[in-house]
Amino acid sequence: MQITKREFLAATAALALAGSIRPANAATAINYWHHFTSQSEMAGLLKIIELFGKAHPGVTVTQESIPNSEYMAKVSSAVVAGGRPDTGMVIAERFADLTAMGALTDITKRVNAWKGRANLPENRWTGMSQDGAVYAVPAYAFVDWMYYRKDYFEEAGLAGPPKTLDEFVTACRKLTNPAKGRYAFGMRGGAGAFKYVIDMIESFGSPIVKNGQAAIDKAAAVEAVSFYSSLFLKEKVVPPSTPNDSYRQIMEGFRTGQTAMIWHHTGSLIEISAALKAGEQFATAPMPAGPKAHIARVAYAGNGIMKDDNVDAAWDWISFWGETDAAIALLEATGYFPASTAALEDRRIKSNPVYQAASKTLEFGRLPNSFVGAAGWSENVVNPAFQSVLTGQLTPVQAVDRMIEGLEAALR
């Protein structure tokens, strides 16, 4: 068959036009960036996508997993160079930086008109709002608590988990036996150590930032850093590898029986339950109270809209996470505590003794510090300064001086 040049051009134009017209019933495709990487997290996410697909057949979600440590690098690159996703995961600690770089869309009007808002009390929105505007919908919470080896405690004649830091040190002394390769506490001194250093500083009565200004009380902070580092330097109740131990190492230490206690949040429950028997080998307890304050973080995490191209579909997706079905699906797969009060009333939470420590912590827990520059200061200043104390390169006074100096620079 032969076609003329004119026919060829007409056919090409028709094909191009046909390609550009979306069928009336085509699904809207949105993408979603998150930092879920473990098997349990991915199972929970895929279940939510499946439930969402049934509830919203007109929207398809493509998920992209980015390791937590690279998440902000990828988002900031997308903000600078283009290529933002439609939606993305937002955790409270990163909220200030994300809004400051203009990564999130203001969704206040949609939130105010949303019926699901009734299940999310005001404190859930605090970490997702700025200057009265809401930028993300809370979905789940990381509630800080303590895991302890119930069998080790019984063996050492300890009646129960420590309620204060004084009791904590006493328990640590009884639980440590280097000859057996057993240490009382899996302290995080490597990546992520800053979290507990900051908690400790607040437990000893020092704020971090007030009204946008550095507000560390040097005396209290020095006392806190001295106390916390003494667990490694003086008491020797933590493993010798502490200065480089991050999440993976403290988890391995606890799961393999090297340590008797670790501080983390509800997110690691599934992983620990897979290795140790709940109620017999391990149990959970609220974090021990400091001399001036009882600090445990309740960090709400949620999802925000990062691009306005498919804003209606994006809203459907991020608000779906706040609904009970999605929250319970995530809880069952990962153990992540729901943000929704309706989901918290579910029997799977109410009747499970492991979750009682988290429910108690919700009564006094604080939101993480949220200010522009918090992530950089925490990771690039607090972490190395505290590690330097552990390795004898700095005194607690010098380390606190560096933290204050770094905080002032970060806030300038």
Binding site: D97, P240, Q393
Partner: protein
């Protein structure tokens, strides 16, 4: 006269103009023009943009501060203690890693060049570390040197070198050395491969003649092998130094720069400044310093080795 006549007769269309241009000395520049544009876009623009960023305030989380700041970042660098620690660590990290890698690479290349039975298999085995991505190699070595479960600790305790397991990456006295060894293990096949290619190119007659003249293996190595490989060594060292200075991934996985900046190097510091503090201006200035240091190193090194004169 005839040519001028033809020119006046032919129509002066674009083809004719192009034909005329092809006979001039400008034709070569015209042919190079597309490549030049590509180079400008892919190489020159990003490099220049890096320089531009370094003299600007560019903090993603504080867009209100963005603007020209001149040499502010470079001045701040002079009093930044982490910069000086990183600079010192970078020098140690690169020098030690290169020294170990060149030595191991040479030994491996000489062994593989002997064409003994099984050398092909050993050749593949020796190259294996280089095939591993840095991140995978980092995680593997983190596990091998783990203070609780690490096989290496276990072996050292069993043969009596250590009394207890050692947390290699947690002690500032051993952290940098341990990471250098991991990097050397990962990088020496690069030298082995290039040196082996160089050795294959040296005529066997030279060694035979030297042997007749009474030169032993050491003199043959000093007077034939090393001079004949000089260009290969120079090129390999420059490429590897650039790669080591610019790649923070192994340190990011093994230590994150810690404990307490004990393993902090310039590339990692620039990465952390850009992607944790979102301070692209200062990170840009750190990158420019790295760029200048590498240029200086390459220039001095090439002059010292006289490779361009051959």
């Amino acid at each position: 006269m005839r040519r001028d006549h033809m020119k006046s007769v032919l129509p002066r269309g674009p083809i004719t103009l192009l034909g005329n241009l092809s006979e001039t000395r400008y034709w070569v520049y015209l042919l190079l023009f597309p490549s030049l544009i590509l180079l400008l876009l892919v190489v020159a623009y990003p490099t220049l943009y890096g320089f531009v960023i370094s003299v600007r305030e560019m903090r993603l989380t504080r867009p209100g501060l963005n603007g020209w700041v001149g040499m502010k970042h470079y001045v701040a660098m002079m009093s930044d203690r982490v910069f000086w620690i990183s600079l010192k660590n970078t020098a140690i990290w690169v020098t030690a890693a290169i020294a170990i890698e060149v030595t191991l690479g040479f030994v491996a290349a000489v062994a593989l060049n002997r064409n003994l039975p099984g050398t092909k298999l050993f050749g593949v085995l020796i190259l294996l570390p280089y095939f591993l991505p840095n991140v995978v190699a980092g995680h593997m070595w983190a596990l091998l040197l783990d203070p609780r479960l690490g096989v290496i600790n276990d072996l050292l305790v069993r043969i009596g070198i250590l009394s207890t397991y050692k947390a290699w990456f947690a002690d500032p006295a051993t952290a940098l050395a341990a990471t250098i060894l991991v990097e050397a293990w990962h990088g020496f096949p690069f030298f082995a491969l290039l040196f082996l290619a160089g050795l294959k190119g040296i005529p066997e007659d030279l060694y035979k003649a030297a042997a007749v003249d009474g030169a032993g293996p050491v003199r043959q190595f000093r007077l034939i092998t090393v001079p004949m490989l000089k260009t290969v060594i120079a090129a390999a060292v420059i490429l590897r130094v650039i790669s080591l200075v610019n790649s923070p991934d192994l340190l990011l996985v093994l230590t994150g720069g810690g404990p307490g900046n004990a393993t902090q190097v310039l590339s990692l510091y620039a990465f952390q400044t850009a992607y944790r503090e979102f301070n692209f201006g200062y990170a840009g200035a750190l990158s420019v310093v790295m760029f200048i240091l590498l240029m200086l190193f390459a220039t001095i090194y090439i002059r010292l080795t006289h490779v361009t004169k051959e």
